[in-house]
Amino acid sequence: MSLLQIDNLTVEFETSTGWFRAVDGVSVSVDNAEVLAIVGESGSGKSVSMLAVMGLLPATAKITADRMLFEGQDIQKLSGSERRKLIGKDIAMIFQEPVASLNPCFTVGFQIEEVLRIHLGLDKKARRARAIELFKLVGLPNPEERLNAYPHQMSGGQCQRVMIAIAIACDPKLLIADEPTTALDVTIQKQILDLIMDLQARTGMGLIMITHDMGVVAETADRVVVQYKGRKMEEADVLSLFENPQSNYTKALLAALPENATGDRLTTVSDFFDGNPEPAPTASATGVNA
């Protein structure tokens, strides 16, 4: 049984010109201890599909799915309060903009202890101890002092470490990382990716890595889903995706990487779709996963 299994997920938003389909019939599944990367450009619906799982989309969004199973339980059927017990505890998420996702009015210590209080019901002393332990785990120096700092007193990389500490505070079974390193420098990106992968290997949690960076995919994923304009283009294990991409969209993406440049101009995605403007998904990607 998969840890998370989503079949035929569709998300629509109402606009002045009618319903806009941001995610169109996407099926995704993740196993325990597996790293799945969802890769796509902006507007491909990669974040929206995971926000739908987390229940973080606005009420105006229309979400339909044949099934949305977490550990065999359909999360669509859960009541609001049941779902809130699950989210942040068993399914946790790391967001793209660490500085913007932390509340500037509270210390980071307060924000991490809030999670521990609500989900685990720890008392004050136990919360403090666990928070210090978590800060040590994510590699923040002087955790005792750092707990009293406000987000603006920390760098972007440190804020992302706090976000990770909050996400893993309750030992989640599934961690969703939404572009966790996009706002960071390369050297810091390396540290954060190493940290996330190390935590994943140690705890054996499932990990969904949402990214637009093929380099990040290459360094982290076991399996990859490629999305384009809300539809799944291809699903493959990481090695076959890079070695032998099936869908023409994946081929185009890989060819557009500057390191794969041949000659003095880069291949652009549109070069691949001459006479065939819409990239087509592979046959295996359109079928619903069993």
Binding site: E41, S42, G156, D185, V186, T187, I188, Q189, K190, L193, A201, H212, D213, M214, G215, V216, V217, A218, E219, D222, V238, L239, F242, E243, A252, L253, L254, A256, L257, P258, E259, A261, D264, R265, L266, T267, T268, V269, S270
Partner: protein, 280 residues
């Protein structure tokens, strides 16, 4: 060789003073600590470094947005007098800049035609019709169309906006273009299009580029020369092949190691290592 030097920077420095307060002495931050380089006409110099290393401050000094604390700036064989009020509009026209964020660098209340026409309005006495023709011509040159003339920035995608920002920078026929992370806000496929556009324009107008980036794969593709900055100093400077094949400074080596590798061999190695670890 010396006649073909487009840009020369000699020991340029920039300090920022932080005001002190009660019981708090004044503090000086050395953002750029003496950087020197020479750049030939028609070539591209890439400046690499992490945030806060002074690469954008350097770009601001080259484009006269910021005044250097010390050092010389020689553009097209002419020593620039960077004191406020001493810059002629002719000097300013030689150097233009394209900023990182195409969403923040265009005025949302200004139509694209006015964005492109404004430099001409300020610097030349062209008639409105001529300005319109020039702007339309430039729109086509950067891969947009005449129909975009009357639109507002919010009607464009990120890649299109970056094309507009490039078109605006080219309106006064500059010789030197400073590109401050021009593609880091763009998607991979759009990034390829914009990089191709920059290469085409460089060939057509014999432009000299100072290309600021933190993405080493982009730098490797576009640069002739590479400079790596670290805490306000140039720790590595040489041709692209020198820097990429034999990085000397420790920081450059760290930077190379930290860059994700997307080639099949490294993925194979990683997958194998993971299998071995889980079997053990």
């Amino acid at each position: 060789m010396s006649t073909d030097t487009m840009l020369e920077v000699r020991d340029i420095k920039r300090d920022y003073e932080l005001p002190g307060g009660f019981m708090k002495p004044k503090k000086t931050i050395h953002a750029v600590k003496g950087v020197s380089f020479k750049l030939e006409r028609g070539k591209t110099l890439a400046i690499v470094g992490e945030s806060g290393c002074g690469k954008s401050t350097l770009a601001r000094m080259i484009t006269f947005i910021d005044e250097p604390t010390a050092g010389d700036l020689i553009i097209d064989g002419q020593k620039m007098d960077t004191r406020p009020g001493h810059l002629t509009s002719e000097m300013r026209q030689k150097v233009q800049i394209v900023f990182q964020n195409p969403y923040g660098s265009l005025n949302p209340r200004q139509k694209i035609g006015d964005v492109l026409g404004e430099p001409l309005l300020i610097n030349t006495d062209m008639s409105a019709n001529d300005r319109r023709d020039r702007a339309t011509e430039m729109l086509i040159k950067v891969g947009l169309g005449p129909e975009h003339y009357n639109r507002y920035p919010h009607m464009f995608s990120g890649g299109q906006r970056q094309r507009i920002a490039i078109a605006r920078a080219l309106m006064m026929n500059p010789k030197l273009l400073v590109l401050d992370e021009p593609v880091s806000a763009l998607d991979l496929s759009v990034q390829a299009q914009v990089l191709n556009l920059l290469a085409d324009l460089q060939d057509e107008f014999n432009l000299t580029y100072v290309f600021i980036s933190h993405d080493l794969s982009v730098v490797r593709y576009i640069a002739d020369e590479v400079m790596v900055m670290y805490f306000g100093e140039a720790v590595e400077y040489g041709t692209r092949d020198e820097v990429f094949s034999a990085p000397k400074h420790e920081y450059t080596q760290t930077l190379f190691k930290a860059t994700p590798k997307a080639d099949v061999e490294s993925i194979r190695a990683r997958v194998a290592a993971k299998k071995a670890a889980s079997a053990a």
